[in-house]
């Protein structure tokens, strides 16, 4: 179910990423002021955009989960936020490198996008500790969804607040695609597409892995029951922050589970 189309998606991700890198290094012109350093823009900005979109998507999936009570939406929400956190780390690292290169400091407080991204990242960093601290899987999913919706709404609000608070010290030449030269804009858009595809592919892999693990667990339990083993199989639920969708909901025999 989840594995469908995974191969095609992976291949197109690799192709677009390769194309993006080729464009970055051989097609896009050198920027007049920053020179070669500016090329990190084609990685950093798409990473940030995709991570933020992933956070918001996590919130939207969480709304779906709260409305339908289908644990699969919770899993989608978890995976989107989990992956966005990883992309967020990459964004902060590439941003720091760029800041060091162009302004001479690893961190600058007067760049509102940077600061608001850090605040959003710090908020989402509590998502997994929150899940981890709740034992009951159903309540864990529900509370995590409430968090994801709140935080998803916080993302744009926080950007407005922080942006308004900062006087623009640095010229925002690289802020919008509209005032980029067309060659740079094309390269940027291809990079954005590549990173977005990478995000989708990784999310799909994680979802497939989780789904397969749940199926395997269900089949094992079934096999144990068929074999009539006297050994009581303890429900070995890993104490993990990751959502473990109840296995029976995921087997081929019972693809849909009515509300909990």
């Amino acid at each position: 179910m989840y594995g469908k189309g995974l191969r095609a998606l992976s291949i197109s991700t690799v192709a677009v990423m390769a194309l993006a890198l080729a464009l970055v290094f051989f097609y896009a012109p050198l920027e007049a002021e920053q020179g070669f350093l500016q090329k990190i823009f084609y990685v950093h900005v798409p990473l940030a955009i995709v991570a933020l979109c992933g956070f918001v998507a996590g919130g939207l999936f969480a709304i779906q989960h709260l409305r339908t009570r289908d644990p699969r939406w919770d899993m989608h929400s978890y995976v989107a936020i989990h992956m966005s956190l990883i992309f967020g780390v990459a964004t902060l690292i590439t941003g720091s490198i760029w800041a060091k290169g162009s302004w001479g400091h690893w961190w600058v407080w007067d760049e509102p996008t940077l600061v608001s991204f850090l605040i959003v990242f710090l908020l989402y960093a509590t998502y997994q500790p929150l899940r981890f601290a709740i034992e009951d899987p159903e309540r864990q999913a529900r509370y995590a969804s409430v968090f994801a919706v709140t935080a998803g709404a916080f993302v744009p609000l926080n950007f407005i607040a922080v942006r308004a608070s900062t006087a623009y010290v640095h010229p925002r030449v690289l802020g919008a695609t509209s005032n980029l030269p067309s060659q740079m804009a094309l390269t940027f858009l291809v990079s954005l597409l590549g990173i977005a595809l990478l995000f989708t592919t990784l999310c799909k892999y994680e979802l497939t892995a989780k789904h397969t693990r749940a199926q395997l667990r269900a089949l094992r339990r079934l096999a144990d029951r068929r074999a009539g083993t006297a050994v009581a199989v303890a429900p070995a639920r890993a104490r993990s922050a990751a959502p473990s969708v109840h296995a029976t909901a995921m087997t081929a025999h019972a693809p849909e589970r009515p509300g909990i």
Partner: protein, 224 residues
């Protein structure tokens, strides 16, 4: 709904009056923090940006003490179960708790603001007082809405004392930004002017949005 909120709020305030669990602790914490700031900054008086920052950081951390305790009694002593058994709207609990937290914050500020003026603040507060109260009220509304939601989210987890502040602080950053920016002209020597409308609007908008979010999501936290 109004009667339920009234009854719940009365119960909250009565419990607080009898146990004195939150407000005295918050107030004492705020005053102690001012003393700590005096020694940490090695200054006998502050004004402007620095004063606004100290005031808001202190109020924020004191508020977090209250937020952490807001639902503890309900979670530990069966208050949630009792409430869920009653045939009333669940949102009433959110409204009552938020109002109770708002009352705690006002009580905290009645102690903390004069203490701040006395201990640390350089310029006198007299003239700027009404405007300062307005800014504080806007900040309190946001802290009450976010604080209640976060407290309900954190209270039934294993690490509630840790998670509450961790969840609340990033969500309250925009309030600190808006509050500190709006307050700093009021605390400048010779009064630099009125608080900028932009910041008051930001605070008001943030309060409104998070009030609605808390209203929409609170029911889901009370299902078992």
């Amino acid at each position: 709904m109004r009667r339920t909120v009234g009854a719940l709020l009365r119960k909250e305030l009565l419990v607080e009056l009898r146990t004195l669990e939150s407000v005295p602790g918050m107030s004492l914490f705020a005053v102690t923090t001012f003393v700590v700031f005096h020694f940490a900054l090695q200054r006998s008086s502050v004004d402007g940006d620095l004063a606004a920052g100290i005031l808001w950081v202190t109020l924020l951390f004191a508020a977090i003490l209250g937020i952490n305790r807001l639902f503890v009694a309900d979670a530990d002593q069966g208050g949630f179960d009792g409430f869920l058994l009653a045939p009333v709207e669940r949102t009433a609990l959110l409204v009552a708790k938020a109002l109770a937290l708002l009352a705690y914050l006002v009580a905290l500020e009645i102690v903390a603001v004069p203490a701040f003026a006395l201990l640390l603040l350089g310029p006198s507060l007299g003239q700027a007082m009404p405007q300062l109260l307005g800014v504080l009220a806007l900040g309190d509304l946001g802290i009450a809405a976010i604080g209640t939601l976060v407290a309900a989210l954190a209270v039934r987890t294993r690490a509630r004392d840790l998670l509450g502040p961790l969840l609340a602080l990033p969500l309250l950053v925009p309030i600190v930004i808006g509050g500190a920016r709006a307050t700093s002209p009021l605390l400048t020597l010779g009064h630099a002017g009125d608080p900028p409308t932009r910041w008051l609007l930001t605070l008001g908008l943030y309060d409104l949005v998070f009030g609605l979010i808390a209203y929409a999501l609170f029911d889901f936290l009370l299902e078992d």
